[in-house]
Symmetry: D2
Subunit: 101 residues, 4 copies
């Protein structure tokens, strides 16, 4: 089942800065072949359901290994049966409507 998804990890118990923990997820998402796209409120990925959620699990384990006792993550995930659509397709669909964003 092919998905597009967004992950936003929030480590708790390690202060106010989260960048170190987000950065640690990059290599995991890259190695899983999920084409990660970083933005200010998370990282967008695409791939097979099982690969995506196995990588997200590894992100949680890595953040705990870095010393965070608690991790709160929000995820968006989308599936379609009418056609395949990548994250870049989704952005292009909005821009093709004349959006300057």
């Amino acid at each position: 089942m092919k998905v597009t998804a967004e992950i936003c990890v929030i480590p708790l118990g390690v202060g106010v800065s989260v960048s170190k923990y987000i950065a640690a997820c990059g290599p995991i998402l890259e190695a899983a072949g999920l084409k990660p796209q970083l933005h200010a409120y998370g990282t967008n990925v695409e791939g097979e359901w099982d690969d995506v959620f196995a990588a997200f699990k590894e992100c949680h384990q890595t953040i705990h290994d870095l010393g965070a006792p608690r991790v709160h993550t929000s995820i968006k995930v989308g599936t379609r049966t009418d056609r395949e659509q990548s994250n870049d397709d989704k952005i292009a669909a909005v821009r093709d409507r004349g959006s300057a964003m």
Copy 2:
């Protein structure tokens, strides 16, 4: 890896009512032993990471089988290494602070 989580499924292409699709997820979450707790903006569950995300995958498949060509889902997931905490523990922790909610 024990988790608590929340799932909120939004089927697209099948009109404005989503209740039929949310209801179809109930038996899946129950059968997986995830102790589902329904609320107005999703369903909270708890269990092992792999069991939770396998059940969420089955929810997507079921909603597609019911005729929805697109499913948009938001998920919250939490893990802790400092102690175990169930969904009921989380609610009790707030109420023990004197909250009337």
Copy 3:
């Protein structure tokens, strides 16, 4: 514009426990007449858009006043023009479908 909404506040920089900060939001949501319903992954409310987001703003201010230097909040908000629907209506709509959740 009448809305139903969910708020999940995560204070950062104040350790792993968030219950004290969530509990502090209860009286704010009650005083705004938003009929708060606590669950394990947030609090559901309903009311006019401006009242809801003014109360959410007051929650952020209160959590900062309690000593949290950073607050990360996720919100779901829904509006409808086809009919009015309360949070209780949304739950009943799923249970009326035979869901045991």
Copy 4:
């Protein structure tokens, strides 16, 4: 109260494509001076709390005016008292950690 935020709008009752409705939000967010940054799972903005949520309200009204009877939106919002941080700062903080994302 300065915020960074993300908005992800899902119109219901108007088929599977959401790009027309997301594109319609662009001019609203630009006109409010919120520096919108589009990505595959939403649009990130920054500005004063009241300006941001007034603009989000106008997005809902506009999507209804375009014919969607129901709109489900997820929002992330962050506030800080320790320092000011823009959406670009947040991305740079992760990339400065050597992330290739």
